[in-house]
Symmetry: C2
DNA sequence: GGTCGAAACGGACCGCGGTCCGCTTTCATT
DNA sequence: AATGAAAGCGGACCGCGGTCCGTTTCGACC
């Protein structure tokens, strides 16, 4: 019996040992970050803790930024799953405006929680289309459900932009705002744009 | 005759040789960046071109990011001067809405022009209050002149956020937007917020 | 089970950012 | 002009991110 059409399964299959090492490295990195600060974690330390050579880490993740981005990816997937199929109001089921406000609060907290990791991942994460694309698309759909008319792609981007880490930092550290104040400001922005 | 109240002149005076070296280093860095890409310019190369030791560069600017931020500072000062006292509509004299739209276009172009430098300066630049503070304050004042009511500090931040480099990159590289499309989107955002 | 090509591995090696400390320069004071 | 102390200087040195290439391991096929 012929094997089931390789092209339909997983064309560029990852070797078993490679997959094992990827998991070991992600776990090792995760644990080391618990212990020290993110900046204090070196690639050599991660490799050692995972029991592999340094070259392997770079082969798997390309760079330090790539490794950090992979760690963020886990949290991001969980968050996206909560948006797509989790409990309301973040997930489906609540009215669009409630969902939108829940989205803003949730996204803000995610960015603050993962702040150090986001910094460490740099543009490898920031330019990740799977992230920015999903987020703006979600907002865009909610805006459509709210009956907003106009340039929805741009408006969605404009709503997401003030939730970015640099902006949040500026508001907390320089403008001395509290999380509640930031969320209140964002809600006002939303209501102005929705009209 | 006593010297003129040191506390009122320049308490932490910079020594003459130090000032000379600062200028030499900034010039050297500037010229090297013309020749190579920003990432290709090393601190040692800057030091060598300026005819000083490597330690001096770090003494003056603290870090590579600090040096890059100092380079950006020149362009930023010129831009702020144009906003404060340059020709309309960016400078004073034009109606607030015209000034605001000119501001957006000008700021966008500045970010795009200095993109590589902004990346290289990292948070040393991004957390610079003299920059974010000036920009949001300017927008805030224009919004006030336009009779906008509500949380002006937040609205100003929300208008500035979509002009940030990561957002612009996302729009150009991922969403395939042209500069005109981005500006049109921003203008629509402005009109919605101004009402 | 044996064979073979491709993929993965590991650690020596390199370049750059950043630090450190003994030496030199500046300049206020006399 | 002499002087003393603080500020500045320079380059050897360190650690980490990233590369390279000879060796090892996997797994597809016989």
């Amino acid at each position: 019996m012929s094997k089931p059409l390789p092209l339909l399964t997983t064309p560029p299959t990852e070797r078993a040992d490679a997959a094992r090492n990827r998991e070991a490295l992600l776990s090792a990195a995760s644990e080391l970050i618990q212990g020290c600060s993110v900046e204090g974690v070196t690639m050599e330390a991660v490799a050692a803790k995972a029991g592999v050579g340094k070259g392997t880490v770079f082969r798997r993740f390309g760079s330090r930024e790539g490794l950090m981005a992979s760690l963020l990816d886990h949290a991001e997937r969980a968050w996206q799953a909560a948006v797509i199929g989790g409990p309301a109001p973040l997930g489906p089921g609540a009215p669009p405006m409630e969902r939108l406000l829940a989205f803003g609060a949730s996204r803000m907290h995610l960015h603050l929680q993962q702040g150090a990791l986001i910094d460490a991942a740099g543009r490898t994460w920031g330019d990740n289309y799977a992230v920015t694309g999903f987020v703006t698309m979600h907002v865009r759909i909610l805006l459509a459900e709210l009956g907003v008319e106009g340039n929805l792609p741009y408006l969605a981007t404009a709503l997401v932009a003030p939730l970015s880490l640099p902006v949040l930092r500026q508001q907390f550290d320089q403008a001395q705002m509290s999380e509640e104040q930031v969320m209140a400001g964002w809600e006002e922005l939303v209501r102005r744009i929705v009209g």
